[in-house]
Symmetry: C3
Subunit: 338 residues, 3 copies
């Protein structure tokens, strides 16, 4: 991948290390705008088509906010029943039509492959906001960007990282995509912790091993691991064959402060793709961790805005013009608090 301008963002497979570093470099320049230290209007007049054929409040709002923060407008659609798709319209037609109404599209859809199919009919760049069990590249990028920033605080880079991934590694697409991206870096150590039935799929395992990284597979948290990152997951109930099947594994990998102290280092960063299930029977990340400064889950969602701003800026080719359209912010803002 050498150029972003005018291109779709459909899969993490599009990214090489250089492209990732470019995204992160641009994301870092977005921070003053996201924190409301400055305002930019570089995309004044541009329109994002924010098409969430499958609802997802947090991802939808994050894309919309990222576009607003660059000065653009957002036209949105949520859900599918009401759409022309229900009248037998092809994704190609929908794309041809709706791409006439916007400058760039962010799209989520429940069917794997649907966003790529849609992109073929689109006359503007399409960013995949999640296509079912398939891909969610902006989540993987914001996860990796978070890792990079957390490591920076420790004076380190991504290379040489030890990451522990815990829980539903089979259906959790975020750990799949993140693993693929991490494989592009050097000397990563993966510790994969899950019941056998929810193990990481073998194509991902192969990719990790072929890239020469170190891999440990286990079914339990054991001893004190020297992991830099603990990436906890949610049981992807909606992807299991049945609710009963999902229930078997719910609550199997709870993490709270005392478990953390036992198995992790005092500066191990805790990540999770969110939402975390706070009901007693699941409790993937106990609320007592909220006081732990290594809990990075809300820094992840904040970083999502920066990464999405960067992707918009790059695909619309204005990454170097953002600061030129800068203004002061006059309202009360405490955006730097997280």
């Amino acid at each position: 991948m050498t150029a972003f301008t005018g291109n779709h963002i459909l899969s993490v497979d599009q990214f090489d290390r250089e492209a990732i570093e470019k995204v992160f470099e641009v994301a870092a320049t977005m921070q003053p705008y996201a924190r409301r230290q400055k305002r930019t209007t570089v995309l004044d007049g541009a329109i994002l088509g924010n098409l969430f054929f499958e609802p997802s409040t947090r991802t939808r709002v994050s894309f919309g906010t990222a576009f607003n923060l660059l000065g653009g407008e957002v036209r949105e659609t949520t859900g599918m029943s009401s759409s022309a798709l229900a009248k037998g319209e092809s994704l190609y037609d929908t794309a041809r039509v709706l791409s006439g109404y916007s400058d760039i599209i962010a799209m989520r859809h429940p069917a794997a492959g649907s966003v790529a199919e849609f992109a073929q009919g689109s006359r503007v760049p399409v960013i995949n906001g999640g296509d079912g069990a398939n891909e969610h590249p902006t989540q993987a990028l914001l996860d990796l960007y978070t890792i990079q920033r957390e490591r920076e605080y420790q004076g380190k880079g991504i290379d040489g990282l030890h990451i522990a991934m815990i829980g539903d590694l089979r259906y959790g697409r975020t750990v799949h995509s993140l693993s693929r991206l991490l494989s592009l870096f050097k000397n990563i150590r993966f510790t994969l912790i899950s019941p056998k039935e929810l193990a990481m799929p073998s194509p991902i395992i192969d990719a990790i091993e072929n890239a020469g990284h170190q891999l440990t597979i286990t079914e339990q948290l054991e001893g004190n691991m020297d992991a830099d990152i603990c990436y906890q997951t949610r049981i992807q109930e909606e992807r299991f064959p049945s609710q009963d099947e999902a229930n078997k594994y719910r609550g199997k990998f709870r993490l709270n402060q005392s478990i953390y102290t036992r198995h992790f280092q005092s500066n191990t960063v805790i990540m999770h793709p969110l939402p975390r299930d706070s009901r007693a029977e699941a409790n993937e990340l106990d609320n007592d961790l909220n006081l732990n400064p290594n809990l990075a889950i809300f820094r992840q969602t904040d970083n999502g805005v920066l990464v999405r701003m960067a992707l918009f800026a790059l695909t619309l080719g204005i990454e170097d013009k953002v600061a030129h359209y800068e203004r002061d912010v006059v309202w009360f803002s405490n955006k730097s608090s997280e």
Copy 2:
């Protein structure tokens, strides 16, 4: 309450008389913008998170419009099923995440207390847009602001007012909150008219009496009352134990021009929180009152925009900067007609 900037607006109990007067003073300065005589861009670049986990078209659009009129952008969500809340996410987490996407939040939710709970996780000010049977402070403020303005036309203030409240005084949270606010003023005379079963709850009665106001409770409209304001309500069907129970009272307190003439003065102002049920079996306010210049119901909803603009301006600390970012309006506008 001394400072607004950076604080939440959760309950009418936060307001003392001075705070109310500050809100109304700022609301009055918003009129040229709401009437499109001028345009302001003071909040250019700011984002409102308009989170309506319980749908309410009119309140949602009113908040959104108020924010747009100050120059800001609006990111919205409607309904709950699709939300992460359904996956067991706590309100605290939702707030931590979504508050990272906006500068201020307006929120409605069906559960009493939920907005305050949400506010604890929010990193930006939260304005309660209605939390079930509990509170709807902006409605109470717009009602009181309307009373103030209607009284102004008559050369009077809020002190010394005689208000008749009619109908479902038990479940109608607007009359509860309005009564609390009015109790902060002087020499108010309350006439409460409802079936015993739908009487005003005793904590409100106590508050009125403890503040030394005059109180009359009755079950029927009788004779010619010298009320300045007639505040009519809707049967809150959704809060009754059953539809049958609600039906008993539907249509019990119809008001039309001839009833108005019999029981009220020629300049008694008619108010209602809207929507009014125009079906024959309810008919709380007959359409023949549409010609009555004292019918203030649409002035109420217009005033709602002013009050919400004022609350945004105060919580974001820009109430003194609005005029500085003023521009001319160039398009056709007949916004001064109501």
Copy 3:
């Protein structure tokens, strides 16, 4: 019709030839903005109330985009269940309230006549975005604008046109409205092709004949017609008494490249109101026509933005000020590609 400013757009019957030509003249000036060659902020601060009480993604987004492209903001509502209408509020009240929140309203509603009823309560101009089986004037205008532009490429005007209308001419309101508009021009030749049961209603037939146009009615595509325009329709399943009834006619008038070659000229323009049903059993316009440069269906939807921009500009009285608020576009754009 002589003046647009401040008036509602409810029906094609409002338009005479002069008014249509005015809309099209203004629409043509909108092209640089729609193609992102330039940006205008003439409506900066204006708010569109985009009220889709019946969902329609494409029409809703088209209206919203058109308003954004003029620099305005959009407040939206979709669906009806959650609305105050469900609590017995009259359309008049809804209009009085919601018109207080916007400068202009675009509205779709499932009930015929509802938009006109709503307009009576509105304090701002209302544009009908479709009221059930009744009217959808902006669709008719964009269809006719497309015809004008396609004819222009051939060095001709609308007068003297030969149009073939195919399929469900009974329930397809777009062909009704388009026929009424075409009747205002000179020497139009209509060829109406449908099963008897789905024939064009007689009031439309009468209007065509009374205006002195040439009319041919048939049940089959036959021989090589010298039509300039082939206007294909969708079976309006939702308006049939039953699904079985609708199924009888589904797929009866498929059009693909080989049928096109047999029955039409090499430059006959193909139109369709979209969405086209791409499922095998319907297949109104085969995908093999996508390569045919005469397929104008996506030019129609692009033109819809221009026509809606023109209607906004005219009803808000700023059609002559648009260029005055022009700026450069700085982001990547390939909007001229269709």
